[in-house]
Each structure stands twice: as structure tokens, then as C-alpha cells.
Symmetry: C2
Subunit: 139 residues, 2 copies
Amino acid sequence: MSAKHERKVGKPATAKAAHDYAGIDRVMHEKARLSILIALLSRPQGALFPELKELCALTDGNLNRHLAVLHEATLIEVWKSQAGPRSKTRVQLTEVGRRQFLAYLAELERVIRDARVDAPAPERRRRNSVGGDAGWVPA
Amino acid sequence: MSAKHERKVGKPATAKAAHDYAGIDRVMHEKARLSILIALLSRPQGALFPELKELCALTDGNLNRHLAVLHEATLIEVWKSQAGPRSKTRVQLTEVGRRQFLAYLAELERVIRDARVDAPAPERRRRNSVGGDAGWVPA
DNA sequence: CCCTCAAACTTTGCATTGTAGAGTGATCGG
DNA sequence: CCGATCACTCTACAATGCAAAGTTTGAGGG
């Protein structure tokens, strides 16, 4: 970390790991699971297995695996009909799941905002060489 | 409203995967690489290896690997100083890299907007059981 | 009443990928 | 002139996503 106890003048402490977005949770930051969570967000009553499969364009095994991960993280509840006509699985967000997912989305939004602010230069780039300095070769 | 009974006006008959966010590219949708790309976005002149390492809170090998992936995808350019006092590596976004990354961010924004629209229910959830139906047991 | 089909998951194996620690070769201080 | 340090690079391992095959249960036909 700050092994070199250099004075921190000139720049705020943001000089350290300004882009370490710790709020981006691995469990939720994943195409497939992101899909699932968003689908569930709009369905407070939950969704059935085949329904989710269709919505998110996932294979059976794939969906099963991702649901297991989400369940392990207590982001979703899984209910199975025992007395029903056929085996059915219903999935819905837990309360903490909903809260955590919304927090994740907020963090994502912050990241995007950061990026947008930082990217005003539309065509300011140099040709092909790094400016000024000579002796640079492409890798 | 039933998800299944959607009108077939606005979408092709396939009604494929409302939540299949195809625009989310695996290469960019990754905590570490996302950090790197955002850092580079704000530095059109590029960034040095140790600088990036600090900014994104990554280890040497980790950063090296992610840079290789990004370079493989032609999202970044890598320059090495040959005549310099010490070996230095400078990294900067390519033009297509910048464009693709901005497109990715736009897609992300769309996803978030979708989620936000779908998540109006603040406290409407049932206690612990799935509403109405009996015979459901937790998994 | 039995046989076959299909739906709804579950399990298993493979391939990809992220992570960290060891290794390499310059450069700089003493 | 010799170690220490910096700046990467390489390699091995562990985790994870993905898809194909297997299993169980209900429905339908002869």
C-alpha cells in the first residue's frame, strides 16, 4: 500500500485505487445472474423454472447452477411444490436479495457516471504515437 | 400482468429472452477490466503499468493478464519504451476500444434502467409463503 | 393396464478464466 | 563492483461458467 510515506499534497487521497470498485459483487456481476435478478425484480410473486429459462435464454443446467449460486448467497428463495400435479420450482427474491441487488445497481450507476465524466474527449487522441516521447514501440 | 401473454406487435414472434442482454461483452464485463478501461478512459494519453496497478488495486501478474486479454481484443494499445532509462510500458485505449467501451456502458445503462422500471414494489411482498398456493416447501 | 413420450429438473465433466506467487533482467545506490 | 530494487513476465492452481447426458414424474395411446 503506501509503503512510501510521501506527502499527499496536490492530490486528494483519491490517488489511491480510485477505480477499485469494491461494491461490484462477483455473485451479481455476471451476465446470466444479472438477467435472472432483473427478471425476478419485476416479479415479486416469483417465477417458475421454465419461465426463467425462456426469459434469460439459458439452458437447464446453466440456470440450475446459477440459481444454486444465488440461493447460496441467500439472494433468492426457492420453493418446490410437493402436493402439486408435477414437480414445480418457484423462485423469488429474498428481502435482502432485493436490497442488495438494488445497492449493486446503484454502484453500477456510479461507475457509469464516473466513466462518462471522465470521457469527454471526443477526438483529442494523438495519431498513432504516444505524444512527445520517442523510443516507444508497439507490443 | 402475465409475461406470457404479451402482444405480438412490438416484437418478433420468437419473443426471445426479454432479459438476454447480448450487448454485455464478456471481455469488458469484469470487475478488474472494467476498472482498467475506466481508468484509461480518463487518460487519453495512456497510463503506465505501475500507475494502473495502483489505480485498480491489482497485483502485477493479474494486471498483466488482463492487459493481455484487452490487447487481444484490440481494445488497447501497448507501447514499450526502448530507449528509455528503464523498461516502461504505456497503455492506452484504441479508437475502437473507446467506442466499444462506450457502447458497452450504454448497454449497461439500459439494463439498469430496465431494472429500475421493473422494481417499483417497495414492500409489497408476502411474509414467507408464496401467496395463495399451498403445498410449497422451501428448498 | 402397460408402454412410450415429454417435461422439468439434476448431475457430471470439460474448457475457460481469474488469481497469485515465483522467476527474469535491467538499473541504481553504496 | 555488488547487492537491492523495480518492472514486468511466466507458470501453476483453483474457481467458475457452460452444455450434454441422466433421472424422475406425469400424461397419452393402444
